[in-house]
């Protein structure tokens, strides 16, 4: 048997790009890592493998806890982790969803070509930066009263539609049509709402950004056509989440679990994996609150997208409709969803809380939960790269249901710590180099953020996507490359 020694943890090769950490001790199932040996060399350097092993201790974990190819160390659960926990006798874990509930990305198409915006990049990046709130304390696009926050939590993008920040078609190109069933605003604390109400329609900071990109390659012409993508076309990618509302919701429930389900918590090797037993009142409450925060994040990205349409209107002096600026799709990265999956050798159907933390749902063609617009070709998956590298559009692959509970990677994955990045890079240099060498125009609230997000701190997104494609969990459709980037 081929093995890989990852600093004391031995992984057994199951097949190409599939590695297993066998079940031992208190592990309830084996852990799996989907990676090439090149990616494993990077993954073994932080605590990702220890964290995915810890995750196998969660009650009700089914088949395997799984690392996607872009995995890196997080807190509790690794980033790039997928864990399916039985919804009847397992649990739901706020820590395994993460703080930024429904952090995710959406891509908007345009009918502009790269030629049409060359020479206008600085004007465009300045206008985007001036009009899209980012950073700390930058406010939001709307500042609704607390009643409106409750509406947003309950109705998601439908609220945006009613209030002039969306069109009908936007709903049809978003997972769950932009509204999670079972969202319960009453289960979101007043503190969380207080934090969120000034931040609706804002990027935040860290690795969140808005990027204007050009399509450089279409690998699958048929699927590319279904997604409305062609070479040289301009698209816009938006990466952000549920802001302070989601962060506070996660912490509120971590503390409640600590107080009410200490027995379960004491069984877990990392307190950040805190989970509420399925069927408990707290599990129900958290699921209602998390779904509400998911709606909030969708509205956040929707407001930013709609504002971006207005910015393009001003810069290019045309209506956004005439530039065909339509949502391609919106995917969530930090989420737990009740889904039915076929598990075990006898093909039993079970309802599971599928936790995807830094992982993307990637349902294949024909799956009933893929929006009608894409059901024949498979769900779009958007994989952002760093601001100096390409991003990818994939489609849910036909092996994803068997291998990963219908999931794939979510990005390039970090390689270098933020502190180290700031020692190695200076924001001003990074910004200048990107402009001079690659014609990428970057504007940020903070030079430190540019240094921390420098292209060199990320893994090779090409390799992450290659592995996803070869495994058949997310197939390559198109590649894009940055033109303008704004961040906090």
């Amino acid at each position: 048997m081929t093995t890989f020694d990852a600093n004391g943890i031995t992984l057994e090769r199951v097949r190409e790009h599939v590695w297993e950490i066998p079940q031992e001790g208190d592990m309830r199932v084996p852990a799996r890592v989907l990676a090439s040996e090149a990616l494993l060399e990077e993954i073994k350097e932080d605590k990702s493998l220890e964290q995915i092993t810890n995750t196998t201790h969660l009650p009700g974990i089914t088949n395997h806890a799984i690392c996607m190819p872009d995995t890196h160390q997080g807190y509790g659960f690794p980033v790039g982790g997928v864990g399916a926990l039985d919804a009847e006798d397992g649990c739901i874990s706020p820590g395994a969803v993460g703080y930024d509930i429904n952090c995710g990305v959406r891509m908007m198409r345009t009918n502009l070509t790269y030629d049409e915006i060359q020479g206008r990049e600085e004007e465009l990046v300045d206008s985007l930066f001036a009009n899209i709130p980012s950073g700390l304390g930058g406010g939001g696009i709307v500042e609704p009263g607390i009643d409106a926050v409750d509406e947003i939590l309950a109705r998601g993008v439908d609220w945006a539609l009613e209030n002039g920040h969306a069109v009908e078609e936007d709903l049809r190109h978003c997972e769950d049509e932009g509204m999670r069933e079972g969202a319960d605003p009453e289960k979101v604390s007043q503190k969380a709402k207080d934090r969120g109400k000034n931040q609706i329609g804002s990027l935040g900071s860290g690795n969140h950004f808005l990027e204007v990109q050009r399509v450089t390659d279409v690998f699958d012409a048929g699927v590319g056509e279904a997604y409305g993508l062609e070479e040289d076309q301009i698209v816009v990618l938006i990466h952000c989440g549920s802001r302070g509302l989601g962060h506070q919701t996660c912490n509120d429930y971590l503390r409640k679990i600590e107080q009410q389900h200490k027995g379960l918590l004491d069984q877990l090797p990392d307190k950040e994996l805190a989970a509420a037993p399925a069927g408990s009142q707290l599990a129900e409450d958290y699921y209602g609150a998390m779904n509400a925060a998911i709606n909030f994040a969708w509205v956040n990205r929707q407001l930013i997208m709609h504002r971006t349409r207005r910015v393009f209107e001003r810069v290019f002096d045309r209506s956004w409709e005439s530039m065909d600026m339509h949502l391609l799709y919106d995917v969530a990265h930090n989420i737990a969803k009740k889904e039915t999956h076929t598990v075990g050798e006898d093909g039993e159907e079970r309802e599971l809380y599928v936790h995807r933390k830094g992982a993307t749902r990637a349902f294949p063609a024909g799956h009933p939960e893929v929006p009608k617009a894409y059901r024949d070709v498979g769900q779009p998956v958007i994989i952002p790269g760093s601001m100096g590298a390409g991003s990818y559009v994939l489609r849910g692959g036909e092996n994803s249901m068997d291998l990963t509970f219908g999931s794939t990677a979510h990005g390039a994955g970090r390689l270098m710590s933020r502190t180290q990045a700031k020692n190695e890079y200076w924001g001003g240099d990074v910004q200048q180099d990107l402009e001079d060498q690659q014609a990428i125009y970057v504007k940020a609230q903070s030079g430190a953020t540019i240094a921390e997000e420098a292209p060199g701190v990320y893994k090779d997104v090409d390799e992450v996507v290659r592995v996803s494609d070869e495994l058949g969990i997310g197939d390559k459709v198109a590649r894009t490359f940055p033109v303008c980037n704004i961040k906090g």
Partner: protein, 153 residues
């Protein structure tokens, strides 16, 4: 005495020491401010007070840092120059009791609220329990308390 920012692949960790529970709590909070902003202006902003209660000592540290992040967002100020005036625990317990009452531990603190508009700050999303340590390593001498906290960025 004080704090250091430590490497973490995606996030930021603060390692802090103090000669009392109060001073190590304040040092972690100063680390949180430093993780948010490289240069905090010395004179800007007014001090404000806060108090926090929790059922255990570690939970008190968690809730204190969570409250500072909440106050940052709702006051639109970066809390800096932290002072923890008092921490009181249950008279008989050492603070590690598993089933403490919600108000067993109590903290009184203050901070200077630097308007966010006056600083080039970035967002620390949340305090985490991951790898959190709060330990007494000696009695009374400098550095006799140690804490390690990972923050989500």
């Amino acid at each position: 005495m004080g704090f250091e920012l430590r490497d973490h692949t995606a996030d930021i960790a603060v390692s802090a020491t103090g000669d009392s529970l109060e001073s190590v709590f304040a040092a972690v909070a100063d680390g949180l401010a430093a993780a948010s902003c490289d240069e905090i202006p010395a004179e800007t902003g007014d001090r404000f007070s806060l108090s926090v209660t929790a059922e255990r000592r570690e939970a008190l540290l968690f809730d204190y840092l969570d409250e500072l992040i909440y106050l940052r967002d709702t006051r639109a100020e970066l809390p800096a120059d932290h002072r923890v005036d008092s921490i009181a625990g249950p008279a008989s317990a050492d603070g590690s009791s598993a089933d403490g009452k919600p108000d067993d531990w109590h903290l009184e603190a203050s901070a200077r609220g630097v308007p966010l508009a006056a600083v080039d700050a970035r967002e620390v999303k949340a305090v985490t329990y991951s790898e959190m340590r709060l330990e007494r390593v000696g009695k009374g001498e400098p550095g006799s308390w140690e804490a390690y906290v990972v923050f989500d960025v």
